[in-house]
Symmetry: D4
Subunit: 160 residues, 8 copies
């Protein structure tokens, strides 16, 4: 059976950020399908991907983009599957444009938006896993273990 | 069986916004459990709620708050269930503070953030339904119908 | 022969703003074709419209939208015809989100962006007319007259 | 016959950005005339250039400037030819000042504004070509080929 | 002999703000010459005014404008007389665009910028008076009296 | 007897900033107890710390965090002891998110917020000392001496 | 004996906001001394007040101001007593200017800054009380009771 | 006779910026008196300087500061001489805090504010010279020559 989580991004340059989503999903034993799908340069690919996402068996789509970031919202317009958006940090405006372009969706077409940059990509992976975990006890257990391990790793005092 | 979606908010004044989440869930035939849980005024209630959310059978928590909006992120720190955040529009800064306080979570504790204000509350309801719909064909069908009806309602030409 | 300028907007509520584009084009004797095309609620209509725009004889497309405003950029992704974008003033963020969502397009897919709100809509009409005027002496003359009349209407001293 | 596209900028330091406009026009086989015209240091040169632009045969003017960027708007005030503005990224405010100074023109004097920085300069070149392409089949074909080539170059998967 | 202070503004609608400059100058017994000079709609009038300002005997020019506010900076480019700028509060962005368009001038062409709105207009009048006061003992005395009276009017305790 | 000032921070990476608070307290002869307490990763530790802070003898708590910085506000929700907040400079938004997340607390739960980054951490230490100094003449004297020495160190003229 | 808390503000118009500080102190049985002290219009009064504050027996000073809000920081420069700052909501920029002018103090001169507007004023009163409560068991008890009562008043469910 | 222009700054670190003001005045043959005067660390020195400025023969005061930049406004509160403010670029907020702290002065106490950073410092020097030039023909001539030389130095075409 195929991956339940798709990770898409607008360009190769977004991969440095979005790899964090793939990595944390991998740590949690959740398979992901990673693709470049550009809303602006490959709109047909985007249409085909988004319209076929439900039939392809995806249960969550993670979409990352920067600047006038239209990819997450457009995918959300084309499928009823949950879409999570990652604002990639942009050069001039540090991701403020990316964030607003993704999060300020009109009523009717939601994108669950995470933080700007790598923290957001990691968290998109974690939130996707949490969504799957509602119906996958093994993922749920690994997610809870992952969280517990991170909590346990916090030292009592700073060093240095 | 109880509701699978919890809607929590920091104060009575947030209800004007958050009612949009409850309403759209109701339209989709999804039961929700609505509560006031203030991170700042009732931290113990928040802890008890969040820590007990999984056992209570919730599969998604929608949390709305304004200003230094800590409720969504703190609930996400206390449960592994998916948390969606709604930035309530604040008086002085129009929700810019609410948005940043909710969306800029550090790696490890995700909050899927929606738009500022009522559009965000409606979309939190829709995204919660989409999450449930992965394993509930009836909700999935109603969600797709709801979306199709909204698309069909868009007229070809503006009037007036 | 059909209109050379298309005016599209994301929803009926944008018409209060976008009517300014239609009005100024009408003053200049330039026909426009006005439609509601929502990137998020009617993505298929948007695809069909944008992909058919060149064959339909349009030489300029004016697109207005607010919030996470994806309409101008997505149309620009789907046609090689010049696209002008109007950021509609949004409720919470006064159009700052609309502006950044429209103007911050990545290299390769341009949207000529005008000011937030009605001034921007009027100017989109004027810029469309200026583009047509390069090859339409009558439009060029009316545009120059319109500008001259406005200049002449500026009084020497404020009153009141 | 002379160039139909003029590229002007406020200072030598803007050339690093504006060269992107000249380069993409060159790739599309569109001649451009590149000049330094400072609104603040050479206002007379700006007046002469802008007032003579129509008679010089220009059909589009691309103007780039940073900070309190008055060049695009002032040229637009002095000619009825279409003016495209490029906000050059400024030191302290990363081009936020440049963007607002260019895009927020009052009703009556439009500037079609592109993104901050090099992406905006490239897109100004592309939009100028799109405007010419309405009446130049060769440019239109090269523009469509350029776009198709860019779309084709998007790989299916990220690497690295 | 004519007025030493000119007050210019981009449009009639700016007068509600700029009247505060004229009023405070009047209170201080300083004559002002008030005009509408639009950078965008009447660029020739602006050129003539600014280039003739020194010969006309002006010692300070106060210029107010809103949005992409080019008037103060362009006048400063065209005369060596001190120019003070007043950012008029704009509709969508509350004068943030006006402020940045006026204050962020490049090295070489200064505009002494005051606060957004009426406070800024009043202060432009006061600063103009202070400049004249360096060589006009009567104005200096009235300015000092005006300031002393305002200080004396501050009550010890709030009421109500 | 134990320290009267606690310094807590969300992660090891905040220590580079928060060490400034510890250092200035040390210069003033005020003992501090430094800990890592993460609102998001160790919410239970935070609860225990904050609820026990009064009994532990703390009279001031300094809390530093970045991004969606919930630590200062949550501690303030859990104890009646004065809480001072330090917004740590974040990567994408330079601490603007940290600042708003800390300072914009709702009525009822105050956090005395200092500047973004190291200056804020130093000032949190100084403000904590000033609070103690109300009832500790030795600290008061050292604080006044520290301030006087800094004033005396300001040279009359810049060098270089 | 005199009040231990001084509340100062820049003008009568700030009283609508600052009254919230006085009111909550009154509820907590803490006397306050309320004055208008303008940094800009009555700098001598400000110097005298701030330099005499310690000898007058004040243990906390609450200072509110709007726009270029210099009062809290200047008082903090003139006394070693703890100073709390309240950014009054300004007309054009909604208190963003007030907030930055108060909170971004350089290392050496702290101002504990509260939220913009009335919430901030209430919280300044509460934080002042918390500071006094360290050495005043009665105030401490009333403060804890006040907080407990507010927590108890939070209903379980929203109404309406 | 002494200098007519004073240049003051809040700290040694501001000198890198403020030296641009001194340099351009030097180029124009205008003597300046340069001092460190900190509003926060040396408030008494600031009072003495500002109150004595008129008697010392100064006709313009240039004041530069960063962050919560109170120096220009406080000097303007203490003297009726024209004050020009230079917002020094700050670390976290790139001078946005400096700019708002300086420019947003309340009605009654003007500060003529220049751009953030070195451009602003240069322009403060030029504006000071322009103020003196009203009554000093030699300075006026040198200022006009300086401006003419800069205009003449603008090449027709960019190089490289």
């Amino acid at each position: 059976m195929g991956a339940k989580v798709a990770i898409v991004m607008g360009s190769q340059s977004d991969w440095e950020t979005m790899t964090c989503a793939a990595e944390v999903l991998d740590e949690l034993g959740v398979e992901s399908d990673v693709r470049i799908v550009s809303a602006h340069r490959t709109p047909d690919r985007m249409y085909d991907f988004a319209k076929g996402a439900a039939d392809a068996g995806f249960e969550v789509i993670i979409a990352g983009a920067g600047g006038a970031a239209h990819l997450p919202g457009m995918i959300a317009a084309l499928t009823h599957i949950p879409v999570l958006g990652v604002p990639v940090q942009s050069k001039a405006l540090s991701g403020q444009d990316s964030l607003l372009s993704i999060v300020q969706m009109p009523a009717g077409v939601p994108v669950g938006t995470l933080a700007i940059g790598k923290a957001g990509a990691t968290n998109a992976g974690l939130l996707a896993a949490a969504i799957l975990a509602n119906h996958d006890a093994a993922v749920s257990q690994r997610l809870q273990d992952w969280r517990a391990a991170r909590s346990a790793a916090v030292t009592e005092r700073p060093v240095g």
